[in-house]
């Protein structure tokens, strides 16, 4: 078994309104960052896991995202895996 670290990012689908992102965007604008055209808030998880290979770790994390970490009705996920 090898140890891996997975970085998982969850964001709302582009079609889902994100009032938190809009509020942060408004605050950035107020600070003078006029160039900010969009902010989407999300979640970030760091998982330490054991797996036989990075392919297996990838498969497992993908399944975790589908089953629990993200809600496919409203959210999208992406992740990257590092060997440690």
């Amino acid at each position: 078994m090898a140890r891996f670290r997975a970085h998982v990012y969850i964001t709302l689908k582009p079609t889902v309104n994100d009032p938190q992102g809009l509020t942060i965007q408004g605050a950035l604008k107020q600070l003078g960052y006029e160039g900010v055209k969009s902010v989407r808030a999300g979640k970030y998880f760091v998982l330490e896991l054991e797996a036989l290979s990075s392919q297996e770790a990838e498969k497992s994390v993908e399944e975790m995202c589908r089953r629990l970490l993200a809600n496919p009705v409203i959210e999208e996920f992406r992740f990257r895996i590092e060997g440690s």
Binding site: V16, N17, P19, L68, N71, V73, I74
Partner: protein
Amino acid sequence: MRFAVIVFPGTWSDYDCHYVLTSILGQEADLVWHRQTDLAGYDCVVLPGGFSYGDYLRPGAIARFSPVMEAVVKHAQAGRPVIGICNGFQILCEAGLLPGALLRNEHLQYRCQWVHLRVEVCHNPFTVACSPGQVLRMPISHGEGRYYADPETLDSLKREGRIVFRYCDPKGEVTRQANPNGSLENIAGIVNREGNVLGMMPHPERACEALLGGEDGLFIWRSLLRWAGSC
């Protein structure tokens, strides 16, 4: 009628539901810990409001994997009524027993206030004692109650008469001002395709005594009793 009121770690409206069902309506009701795996013998399952698992990850996301949920799914598949209130609604959506999801309120505020609901349909176990268009007054208490579904799902909810409650003004007009959380088309409650699983954000169990500000919540519980009596 015999009710199972499911208790998850962090549920807070369980005693309110139990009190209304037993002390006000004279029914049998048990508080059922989420580790239980058998709901045989219960006529109706209540998933009460609260903050199961602290709302961690997403409201309802962790509770939906509690051991009792397999029995809740079985109960629903057998056609027996399930009512999810507030966090219970969120759990039912996460579990896939109801379509869509409940998102952070549009204004990002937690809202605890009385609202008006228009009863849209009455051919289900939860509103059979109401009349179509009737306006009910009961409280909401949530930060994540903005109902969302993709356009195809919303179409089918409308076509199949599955939108049960809409937020409205005291006269029954469905307006933007009457929408407390930015819910799609003012949706406050929906049922599954079979009509035996209801999810609603407002709290009928907190509107069952004049002393507490209103009794309109009784329409929901009495509908269940009437429905059971007619079966």
